[in-house]
């Protein structure tokens, strides 16, 4: 059962469209598997929409008369004529399922990610990582595959690290995580995830991992490799 969900604040930003594509995708993937968050999102969207289009709410945005005048200055009639002139309609095509292979195992890519480009995959030990090319500067998104028995040495995060489990399971000091879990960690968390039976994750991080123990500190230069 899914145990880890995005915080309400995060869902709110998601509904407002204020999150980067990477985190928005993470929430959408989770919500596809989580009826509870799905419902929270629909209810919140309905409320936000209602308030967005209510006159009373909008009045708060009007600071002076000038903005009202400029609103009126746009030629709305021209815009209407322009739009209705086109007889085109958008036909929504049934979604095509895309798959990706890691170590001879095939996985269906979540529909949310279907238009995103995947970079080449790279390997370290039992880890395989494919970058998702979203071009969000310091924020990096990836598909991370862990083979059975693989794990990531104990580390902390300089920024945040989001993991959404797409398939399989893993565990760390705080417990077991299953398909659909939405795990958001920051610098205050230190953990050593291990996947006994293997797993595939969608990950988003805004900085390198920082390995904290013994010999693994030598891995710090490749901390940016994994996430």
């Amino acid at each position: 059962m899914i145990n880890h969900h995005p915080k309400f604040e995060l869902i709110k930003s998601f509904v407002n469209g204020d999150l980067p594509a990477s985190l928005s995708a993470g929430i959408a993937i989770h919500a596809d598997m989580c009826a509870v968050c799905q419902q929270t999102i629909s209810q919140l969207t309905e409320q936000v929409a209602e308030h967005s289009f209510e006159e009373v709410y909008l009045d708060r945005f009007i600071v002076d008369n000038e903005s009202l005048e400029t609103v009126a200055a746009i030629d709305f009639n021209h815009m209407i004529n322009d739009i209705v002139e086109s007889s085109d309609i958008d036909i929504a095509l049934p979604a095509v399922e895309k798959t990706v292979s890691f170590n001879d195992k095939q996985y269906t890519i979540p529909a949310v990610l279907s238009s995103m480009k995947l970079g080449k995959s790279s390997h370290i030990g039992k880890l395989t990582r494919s970058r998702i090319l979203l071009n969000e500067n310091e924020i990096h998104s990836s598909l991370l595959h862990i083979q059975p028995g693989g794990g990531i040495p104990e580390h902390t995060h300089k920024g945040f690290e989001l993991t959404v489990l797409l398939d399989g399971s893993f565990h760390d000091e705080s417990g077991e995580y299953v398909k659909g879990d939405f795990i958001m960690l920051d610098g205050s968390h230190q953990h050593n995830p291990v996947s006994t039976n293997g797993c595939l994750c969608f990950t988003v991080a805004n900085d390198a991992l920082h390995f904290t123990q013994g010999i693994n500190k030598l891995l710090n230069p490749i901390g940016s490799f994994i996430y």
């Binding site: 407002n16 969207t45 409320q47 308030h51 945005f61 609103v71 086109s86 309609i89 958008d90």
Partner: protein, 205 residues
């Protein structure tokens, strides 16, 4: 983060449709656009939404031309996608909000990263996604089998079946989209259903 903006409202009950907005009227206009490309209905919808969208866009884009573009693109999408609105799945305001939020999101992404990848419709589908519609369809294997049988049909029949059952379009809407006479849509649907019944057995109707 704009945390205070909505915190009061969100703690209220879930369906707080206000009576300040005439929801049935908005639905009716959208429906008229979808069914008959009704320009008058679109003008009404435009007059209701456009000034509001413009003011909201002003808050997100300092550049006036960009705010105007949000209005133009949102309303243009409403015109072209009205048939994807399903009033049983939610309010017209929610749907137009989704269209507007998606336009805004893609535009911000374009401005910030020079990326024109238009990811928003994948993140927030404007048409109800099929995974939602098949919620009651727990038997995944049966679902897969059905799809594979559908895909074995001739393309013309597939288009009609998929539009009618998977996208829940009406026969009239399908006729418009596929640019076919209504009679043709009906007969293709009948033909395809006949074949599916043979393939799957009578119990799947």
């Amino acid at each position: 983060m704009q945390t205070n903006l909505l915190s009061k409202e969100t703690s209220a009950k879930s369906t707080n449709m206000s009576d300040k907005i005439n929801h049935p009227q908005l639905c009716q206009w959208l429906d008229a656009i979808a069914q008959s490309r009704d320009k008058q209905a679109f003008t009404h919808l435009f007059n209701f939404f456009a000034p509001k969208i413009l003011r909201i866009a002003r808050g997100k884009f300092p550049n006036e031309a960009q705010a105007n573009e949000v209005v133009q693109d949102t309303m243009s999408n409403v015109w072209r996608k009205a048939h994807l609105f399903n009033k049983d799945k939610g309010a017209a305001t929610t749907w137009v909000y989704t269209v507007m939020r998606n336009v805004t999101f893609d535009m911000l992404r374009k401005i910030q990263g020079n990326k024109e990848d238009n990811l928003s419709d994948d993140i927030w589908p404007v048409a109800e996604s099929m995974s939602c519609e098949s919620k009651g369809f727990d038997d995944h294997l049966a679902d897969k089998k059905l799809l594979s049988v559908i895909e074995a049909l001739p393309q013309a029949q597939q288009d009609v079946i998929k539009g009618f059952y998977l996208r829940e379009m009406s026969q009239e809407q399908l006729a418009i989209h596929l640019n076919l006479p209504l009679g043709t849509v009906k007969s293709r649907l009948r033909l395809a259903l006949g074949k599916l019944k043979v393939q799957l057995g009578e119990k799947h109707d």
